[in-house]
């Protein structure tokens, strides 16, 4: 019978005791380090006359921002500048994700094409863009491409409504007059009806086996409804076209070259990674799956829709979301070309003016950490959902 011998040796070599000991030591070391740093910081801040606390957020910012999605002026507060920067970051991230997904999926699928030339071109795209620093690509798009565009007087134009020059990209601004809400309602109604059609068609297929072209009829329905409503309200949508007045364009929506360059660079770069993710996902579906489906008589479209894509998506979604997160984090490189994103506006200008490094950098890092956390949670939910579906 093993005695509960409380001799020193037994305690020293007891694994649980050792474990607890190590943890206490680690915790103590960490706490000591934190105290050391906090102490130094406090002293340094006093010595340098730096303020602390978050009251500065209510103070007037006294600087202007080149592009703002909300009302902003130099009399707005630092907190307002934080919001402006945050919105600009989300804007460029959103645009970037949208374009990158389209380009990335296209290139990823092209990489697997049976056409040798197409597959090689896709491979070249991936290998070139993946192996060049993003900053270099941003500089290229901004300095070498956008800055090299012609002056407003000689803009590149499309349909006399879209203008590209070295001051930016100018697109028409849709203004919804009277009846605009009717158009919106009919659009929503069309979508609801489409969902209904899909459900009805599914039921009918279960009962009788007949299929119905749900996709095309939904698209057609939406287009029909929107047109009818436009017609009924007398086309109340007008466009404020950008017009050349003097040296610049007035009217329309102006997308500053920094935004355009950053979006392009981020999208093209991330697309090369997304292409690899997509390729890996599709290749993860073994050839035998396609063969079995073909032997059963399914046609190419059915094989893609029912067998390949469901399996490929499972493999694609987690790394895809990771790429989206990377894109969002990479948007912080905006600082290098003066696009007013969160980092440049807040951790740049505001920091320079107030000197409150800890609060400001803490807030900025906090935003990104929050985004990372959100992505992690969504990923976990997705994985759990997938696991449930397969049990």
């Amino acid at each position: 019978m093993q005695g509960r011998d409380l001799s020193l040796n037994n305690i020293l070599f007891n694994r649980s005791v050792q474990g607890i000991f190590y943890q206490i030591v680690t915790l103590a070391l960490v706490i000591l380090a934190v105290i050391y740093i906090v102490d130094n910081t406090a002293r340094n801040m006093v010595a340098r006359g730096l303020a602390s606390g978050f009251e500065f957020l209510g103070v007037e910012a006294q600087f202007d921002i080149q592009m703002t999605l909300i009302e902003y002026s130099p009399t707005s507060t630092y907190f307002d500048s934080f919001i402006v920067g945050l919105l600009n970051t989300l804007l460029v991230a959103g645009l970037g994700i949208f374009v990158a997904t389209i380009v990335g999926f296209t290139i990823g699928i092209a990489r697997l094409s049976s056409n040798w030339l197409v597959a090689k071109l896709a491979e070249a795209y991936i290998e070139v863009l993946r192996n060049l620093p993003l900053l270099l690509q941003i500089f290229f798009w901004y300095f070498a491409v956008l800055r090299a565009l012609p002056k407003p007087k000689q803009s590149l134009e499309l349909f006399d409504s879209f203008f590209l020059n070295n001051r930016g990209l100018f697109i028409p601004d849709p203004i919804f007059g009277e009846g605009g809400t009717l158009i919106l309602y009919s659009f929503i109604a069309a979508i609801i009806i489409s969902i209904g059609i899909a459900a009805w068609s599914r039921q009918r297929q279960n009962k009788t086996g007949q299929t119905f072209p749900v996709f095309y009829s939904s698209v057609g329905l939406i287009i029909l409804f929107v047109f009818l409503s436009l017609f009924a309200t007398g086309f109340p949508v007008t466009f404020d076209y950008p017009e050349l007045k003097g040296f610049n364009f007035k009217g329309g929506i102006k997308l500053i070259p920094e935004l355009v360059a950053l979006t392009f660079a981020l999208s093209m770069y991330t697309a090369s990674f997304i292409a690899e993710v997509v390729r890996a996902g599709i290749q993860a579906v073994s050839l035998g799956q396609t063969e079995a489906a073909r032997s059963l008589g399914l046609n190419q479209g059915q094989i893609l829709r029912l067998v390949i894509i469901p399996q490929a998506l499972r493999v694609i979604v987690p790394p895809l979301t990771n790429q989206y997160l990377n894109l969002t984090k990479n948007s912080s490189l905006a600082a290098a070309i003066a696009y007013p994103d969160l980092v440049l506006v807040f951790a740049g200008t505001a920091l320079m003016q107030t000197g409150q490094a800890i609060e400001i950098i803490g807030m900025v890092m906090g935003v990104y950490l929050l985004l990372s956390l959100l992505t992690s949670i969504i990923m976990n939910l997705f994985n759990r959902f997938m696991r449930v579906a397969e049990r």
Binding site: A293, Q302, Q311
Partner: protein
């Protein structure tokens, strides 16, 4: 008495690059006939049956299945695939669907069968291969033998007139081979026309009407089981038999 000719292969040649993988293959399969094809690896036996349902394309010669010639016409290919079922060495069940869904997928989308009917039929066949109790499980939850039986049921749900088996038991643990072979025997006794590529000579002896030995793309020997095992003519056949028996 003329028996219906299900499959006819006349002077079929196929190359993979420079490799002459099917060399002047001639074969005729009648209704309810059970053919076993054996031979060393690389002899072209898998390629032969994969040409029958157009998973591979032959380059010379004719393949006629139930009166329809196999060409690049997609409609005839699809029709033929509806009549010919195939069972693979790696099972190839769809992992994201339940066993039942695996079986009803093709009837619903290819034959446009109403769902309830498809489910009924699927349960019938699943019962026949004795895994109806696993209908709602996913392939990853089944053993190898169960998965292969499910794959057989899936192929049967399209009610094919010909069943092709490409080494159906080669990827199974020994104790599960018997359950699959039993199902195949039952199928054979039910009158199905079958072409089976396999090394299971016991099965061949029991069930086959004809055993074909292939080597280097050619059919070297084709005899009834008795003649095949007792009086092989060709040297290569003899060598092969001595290795596997």
């Amino acid at each position: 008495m003329t028996t219906e000719l299900m499959i006819e292969m006349n002077s079929v040649h196929k190359w993979f690059g420079d490799l002459h993988v099917l060399n002047d293959v001639n074969l005729q399969v009648s209704k309810s006939e059970k053919i076993v094809i054996c031979g060393p690896s690389g002899s072209g036996k898998s390629t032969l049956i994969r040409c029958i349902n157009r998973l591979e394309e032959h380059q010379r010669g004719q393949i006629i299945v139930e009166g329809t010639e196999l060409t690049n016409d997609s409609r005839s290919i699809e029709r033929i695939r509806g009549e010919v079922g195939m069972v693979f060495q790696q099972f190839n069940l769809f992992p994201h669907l339940s066993i039942l869904d695996n079986c009803t997928l093709a009837p619903i989308w290819v034959r446009k069968t109403p769902k309830a009917q498809a489910i009924d039929k699927a349960m019938q066949y699943l019962k026949r291969v004795q895994i109806d109790d696993q209908a709602f499980k996913y392939p990853s939850q089944l053993s190898g033998g169960q998965q292969q039986r499910a794959a057989i049921a899936r192929a049967l749900c399209m009610e094919p007139r010909i069943m092709l088996f490409d080494e159906p038991t080669s990827a199974l643990d020994p104790e599960m081979i018997k359950e699959v072979l039993d199902v195949m025997v039952g199928l054979a006794e039910g009158g199905m026309t079958m072409i089976v590529v396999t090394h299971e000579m016991g099965f061949a002896k029991e069930v086959a009407d004809k055993i074909i030995f292939m080597d280097e793309g050619q059919i070297v020997e084709a005899k009834s089981p008795d003649d095949f095992f007792n009086n092989p003519e060709n040297e290569r056949t003899k060598t092969f038999l001595s290795q596997i028996l």
